[in-house]
């Protein structure tokens, strides 16, 4: 079982890295693609592959994340791990990511907003994931609540959305 959890955790970290990479590349490829106003076949292929990597990373990330939690359950880690504000914020970021991607997919929100949600959620979830198990060892952990983390997350989305919107408009004017 120890080997299973070791591999599971390794896979979780690797897929988080590939997801963050794919989210970043998706944004770069998209901005590159819309520069001339037309998304040609090769650009569309690049984007499709990147989105596939992102989707696959998210699926593996969810399964390996559940695997890690099963390990905590067997070790009876209890509320210190499961009700940890960092972990709850990470879950919230992933749920918002899924909602954002769904809305973007259904064309209910603009691409720059969907891109901002995706980027911030991937980077946020990866960073929070790194902090989860070490959170209570941090000297300032008693000063950080779930609400503070989520406030920082939403501020980051707003800033990233403005930056992406600005870049989109600038590229489309050229």
């Amino acid at each position: 079982m120890e080997l299973f959890f070791f591999i599971n955790k390794g896979l979780h970290i690797l897929t988080a890295i590939s997801g963050v990479g794919a989210a970043t590349l998706a944004e770069i490829f998209y901005l590159k693609a819309i520069r001339d106003g037309i998304v040609d076949e090769s650009e569309s292929k690049e984007l499709k592959i990147t989105y596939k990597v992102m989707r696959l990373s998210l699926i593996i990330l969810i399964f390996t994340g559940l695997g890690m939690m099963l390990g905590w359950r067997w070790e009876l880690k209890g509320p210190e791990y499961f009700y940890n504000p960092v972990l709850l914020a990470k879950f919230s970021a992933i749920l918002i990511l899924l909602l954002g991607v769904s809305l973007m997919h259904a064309r209910k929100i603009p691409i720059w907003l969907g891109g901002a949600i995706s980027l911030v959620s991937w980077y946020g979830a990866a960073g929070l994931g790194k902090l989860t198990e070490e959170f209570f060892e941090l000297p300032f952990s008693n000063k950080i609540s779930y609400l503070i983390i989520m406030l920082g997350y939403f501020v980051a989305i707003v800033i990233t959305a403005f930056v992406l919107k600005f870049i989109h408009e600038k590229i489309q004017k050229v």
Binding site: G78, P79, F82, L95
Partner: protein, 154 residues
């Protein structure tokens, strides 16, 4: 916890999550314009999603009856978070009964009316709402399961 119950718990969690992911895929494809290739994908995916939920149902049920009820429930009820059982688990176990039936209806809708989705937007919209409900309930149940696991203290 014996290896059997560990295996049952892993199967319960993973097959349930597989069901949610597959019904999310159903939802994403349903939103798009459907051709015969996509209808075939919908049929297969919804069927595997239903199988996932059924597996989760059986393994979770066995685990609940023979392990959770006797050993875990008393620990939670005596601990600092008794609501994790009295509210969350009670909700989870009742809503969970409903999920495979909702999934079965989705499978039947896709198999019986899949070809007519584009001509009958009312049926397609109903399918979208049903898939959304399944994904929402599944996600809520997963989160409740995590919260219940967190209430088990040494």
């Amino acid at each position: 916890m014996s290896l059997l119950f560990k295996f049952l718990l892993i199967s319960h969690v993973f097959s349930g999550m597989l069901g949610i992911i597959l019904f999310s895929a159903v939802l994403f494809v349903l939103i798009k314009k459907l051709d015969s290739k996509r209808i075939k994908f919908l049929r297969l995916t919804s069927l595997w999603g239903l199988i996932g939920f059924l597996l989760s149902w059986i393994t979770g049920g066995y685990y609940y009856v023979y392990y959770y009820g006797a050993l875990v429930k008393p620990i939670i009820k005596a601990g600092p978070y008794p609501w994790a059982h009295s509210i969350l688990m009670e909700v989870k176990e009742h809503v969970f009964l409903f999920l495979p039936f909702a999934a079965l209806i989705m499978v039947l809708v896709v198999y019986l009316f899949g070809e007519d989705f584009e001509n009958q937007p009312k049926i397609k919209n109903a399918g979208i709402w049903l898939a959304t409900t399944i994904v929402f309930i599944g996600t809520a149940i997963t989160l409740m399961g995590m919260a219940i696991s967190g209430a088990v203290v040494k």
